[in-house]
Amino acid sequence: MHEAQDFESWVRASGADLLRFAYLVLHDHDRAEEAVQDALVAACSRWKRISRSGDPGPYLRRCVINADISRWRRFGRRETPVADLVLRDDAGPDHAELYVDEDAMWALCATLPVKQRAAVVLRYYEGRQDAEIATVLGCSASTVRSQIHRALATLRVRLQTEEVPP
């Protein structure tokens, strides 16, 4: 059946990208796999309509985010709000330099709300424009800019260290 082949072809061609997106947003292998699978299972029956309206990528990314949110709600889990986290200064002797450690960045990204994380991944990993990101997040382009601005501000504050006198 042409429609089924079309769906399978898309999954074979773009499934890996979708998994990478999911992993970068959700920071967890299992969560990423479950969210992508849930999204694709739901999309399969609507594939004709989805693929007719253009590139299914943004739509499916949105489905992945929503699938994860639904799953978490179903199982009564919730993400730890950013405000509840205590910023700790693990400064050691080498921490005097202003240094953006990638592992620290990865850990800090995990503390962002999921939509801010998604916005950051879509902008700085996938290189998408605000309008495309808006489609994925289901919001306006100005909201996208605001989400990214807030995410960067949060990351900046958390990465900032005490200035070292010369």
Binding site: V11, L19, Y23, A32, V100, E102, M105, W106, V120, R156
Partner: protein
């Protein structure tokens, strides 16, 4: 501090960690299994719905339902007789008559002979009869009836009609349950 170190670090971090993402080897197979599972679950739901609809259409009788008695709507007449609650369409007549053995007796509307009746025998000298009524009365019992006996607890309710179609119609119109 400008955004550049942050955004540069973001790009590096995300690019590096993208390599740690799960691979897509089992993705299509997992999705196909999920689609099949979903279709099976939907099939069960549709089948259950079909069964429910069939039961409702046949005039489901609450033979021993633990559910509370429904609030009688204006279009129903509710009668409680000998710890049985009977609901019939509001246009029906409900009489207390001398009990009869098998055939309907006493005053009986022509409509009840034609359309049928519901008789609650209480084991005494009286029984309750409910039937659609057009107001005409004929003293003569019908020559031929089709009956169905329903049991609620230790009570028997006899539903009579001139033919099977009328019997089915009556069964579809009445509601019976234990009173209280």
């Amino acid at each position: 501090m400008t955004d550049n170190p942050i955004t540069d670090a973001l790009r590096r971090t995300l690019t590096r960690h993208a390599d740690d993402a799960p691979d897509d080897k089992g993705l299509l197979g997992g999705v196909q299994a999920g689609v099949r599972r979903r279709r099976r679950q939907r099939g069960v739901t549709v089948a259950a719905g079909t069964v429910s609809a069939a039961v409702a259409a046949s005039g489901a009788l609450w033979l021993s339902s633990p559910e509370p008695a429904p609030v009688a709507q204006p279009e129903w007449t509710t009668v409680i007789y000998q710890d049985i609650q009977l609901q019939v369409p509001a246009g029906w007549r409900v009489d207390i008559e001398p009990s009869c053995a098998d055939a309907p007796c006493g005053l009986q509307s022509q409509d009840s002979a034609a359309a049928g009746s519901v008789v609650l025998e209480a084991g005494g000298s009286k029984s309750l009869r409910a039937y659609p009524s057009s107001g005409r009365v004929s003293p003569e019992p019908p020559r031929k009836t089709v009956t169905k006996t329903l049991v609620i607890g230790d009570r028997e309710i006899v539903v009579r009609a001139a033919d099977k179609a009328a019997l089915a119609r009556i069964l579809g119109q009445i509601r019976l349950r234990p009173a209280g």
